[in-house]
């Protein structure tokens, strides 16, 4: 695609600038990793409007906003602002990144059990001994087939790799916050995460993308291009929550890719709370019998925001289970899309695969698109999919109002009720409350401006 290639070449100069500038200080393996990735990106380019996997998202605004690599934050926000993003989890391990750079002063490395190792970007960049990362990163996501993941690898600068050893139970959720803070210009960041959950280990992991108070007011556009890889070894039980609330002006491409061994379980929740374009891509490969993944997604949009949820689940072997429940709350002139692809390989008998997408339209101008794609090559499977589009129940609204509840609160209560199926999947009450608070602040129009601002 020639158009795509032209767009891709616009990156070349920025890449060279990055390699000579911010990214210069790096071991040989990392330079090689980046150059290889850049080649793979170059070969693919930005996907064009006719690309089957990108039907619902116009990539032109992304291509136009291929922004320079973010400089260091001019100012570190107060700890209070950071806590606003912390789901109330003030204790516990927390890694905070400002403009794509690890910020030790806002982070807390305590609370990780013995044996859990965590390598973040500074170590990656500084020491040749982490050369093993070259093989570890990219073992789940195939950057030869995902141009944005290739771009993320080309600009690999910071992020972290977390190893949970076999049998270890990490009690407190491990939380990451990626905050944009103003630098007076539009910028891009390429966070990179890898979590390896050893056999029979347990961990809850929270990925949170936001902007701090000052950034919210400045309103400069930014482009976040994140890649997160999960490796679940046999019997691992991993709960992941991904929250995107960078704001109405931002572009976000998020790739979550997981591979699962025998009897492992992944429960994933993604919460998309607005953005100019938010591409939420989730790939799961169920590689050994007994693996189970449950994907939950909630998107709450207004204005002219756009979210494109794109999932691919591969049932490679018999006796695996996948469920997907995505729910959209769409106001204004927003647009919410869901494409759910389930591929059941020929010998993947006894597969259970369920998929549902339900949408609540709050305005006459919002648009939702849903596209289930079931590719089933086995014959003894249970696969189901369903999609609905509806409005708030007028009788329920009247009922609530007849009890004294004002129309706005009544509406919010009903939206919360609609969303509760997703938030409750977080299991833990503190997490559920935290997610509900984030949704409430979005519904009250405060998503982009924290209260303290």
């Amino acid at each position: 695609m020639s158009v795509a290639t032209v767009q891709a070449t616009a990156f070349e100069a920025d890449f060279e600038r990055f390699e000579r500038g911010a990214g210069a200080s790096a071991p040989d393996w990392l330079h090689a990793f980046r150059r290889d990735a850049m080649e793979k990106f170059r070969a693919q380019g930005i996907p064009g409007p006719k690309h089957e996997d990108w039907l619902y998202t116009r990539t032109a605004p992304l291509a136009r906003n291929l922004l320079p690599f973010a400089p260091r934050a001019a100012q570190i926000p107060g700890s209070l602002a950071a806590h606003r993003f912390a789901l109330g989890l003030e204790a516990g391990p927390r890694l905070v990144f400002l403009n794509g750079r690890f910020e030790p002063s806002l982070s807390n490395g305590e609370g990780l059990p013995e044996g859990v190792t965590l390598v973040h970007g500074a170590a990656m960049r500084g020491e040749e001994e982490h050369a093993h990362l070259r093989a570890e990163l990219g073992q789940v996501v195939d950057i030869a087939r995902h141009p944005f993941a290739a771009l993320n690898s080309a600009f690999l600068y910071d992020g972290f790799v977390l190893h949970v050893p076999p049998g270890v139970v990490v009690e407190q959720p491990v939380q990451t916050l990626f905050l944009h803070t103003p630098v007076g210009e539009a910028v891009s960041v390429h966070p990179r995460l890898l979590l390896v959950a050893g056999a029979n280990s347990q961990v809850t992991f929270i990925e949170h993308y936001g902007i701090d108070c000052i950034g919210a007011l400045a309103g400069a556009p930014c482009f976040t291009n994140a890649v997160t890889e999960y490796v679940l070894e046999a019997g691992a039980n991993v709960r992941t929550i991904r929250i995107q609330r960078e704001g109405t002006n931002t572009f976000h491409v998020g790739m979550t890719a997981a591979k699962q061994a025998r009897d492992s379980r992944l429960d994933h929740i993604s919460l998309s709370l607005g953005g100019a374009i938010d591409r939420n891509e989730i790939h799961v490969s169920l590689d050994e019998p007994g693996a189970e993944c449950n994907l939950h997604g909630l998107y709450v949009l207004g204005h002219e925001e756009h979210v494109d949820n794109h999932t691919v689940i591969r049932h490679q072997v018999p006796h695996c289970k996948s469920t997907q429940l995505f729910k959209g709350v769409l106001g204004g002139k927003s647009n919410g899309a869901f494409t759910g692809r389930v591929v059941v390989a020929q010998d993947a008998q006894k597969t259970i695969a369920e998929q549902a997408n339900h949408n609540l339209l709050l305005s006459d101008h919002a648009v939702t698109e849903t596209r289930p794609q079931l590719e089933i090559y086995a014959d003894d499977v249970q696969c189901a999919h369903g999609a609905t589009i509806g409005r708030l129940d007028e009788e329920a609204l009247y009922y609530l109002r007849s009890r004294g509840v004002g129309p706005r609160s009544a509406r919010n209560l009903l939206v919360h009720a609609f969303a509760s199926e997703i938030t409750e999947a977080a299991g833990d009450q503190q997490l559920i409350d935290g997610l509900e608070m984030l949704i409430a602040s979005r519904l009250e129009g405060r998503a982009n401006v924290p209260e303290e601002a």
Partner: protein, 257 residues
Amino acid sequence: MSNDTNSLLSVRGVHAAAGGKPILKGLDLEVKPGEVHAIMGPNGSGKSTLARVLTGHESAEVTAGEVLYKGQDLFELAPEERAREGMFLAFQYPVEIPGIANSTLLREGLNAIRDHRGESELDAIDFLQIARAKADILEMDHAMLSRAVNYGFSGGEKKRNEVLQMLVLEPTLAILDETDSGLDIDALKIVAKGVNALRAENRSFIVITHYQRLLDYIVPDVVHVLADGRIAKSGDKDLALELEAKGYAWLEEGANA
């Protein structure tokens, strides 16, 4: 009927349509503080439309007449404002709302009403204490408070839940729209017990019912018969017995004569 300025509610010459069809055709009703009015009548006479007109359901379109509630124009008030001014409707068909706990609805409603009265909001603990005490009157399991509003409730549970809400919100004017329909005698007695527990000098009730049976347990001060969108006859509680014995047909004959 006199236009008594002491009335809590004055319905004057109200005409209303539902789905474009005229239902109420010049209805008058005066309810004074502390009174219990029963409204009886055959199906289609306009009983439920009256309840909807009073509580502001958009399906009931008022085409003429006025209603004064506490001396103010009722039609100027939105449904939630009517509720905050003490009006309550026990629905004939309570709405199921999955995802919202009974206690959440009740606390939101009660606090909105308290706020309107200039009272402080109740915290979760104080609220639960009140709600549990009211549930005890109705012999309801406290677990019902944390279940989703009417969701998966049996018909009897829904009606009992309506009465629970009424006990918690302590209205000035409670309208019960066929709350007895579908209830067995034991459930009926419990519902009546809830209503009677609320009866007070400054609190009025409009009890809409198809059958006299409920009025054995909630004894009305006045009984009205609604026929073809108007009050055809009013009397004391004996009128209900007479209706039970004779049916509604004799009334319609009388009205047409």
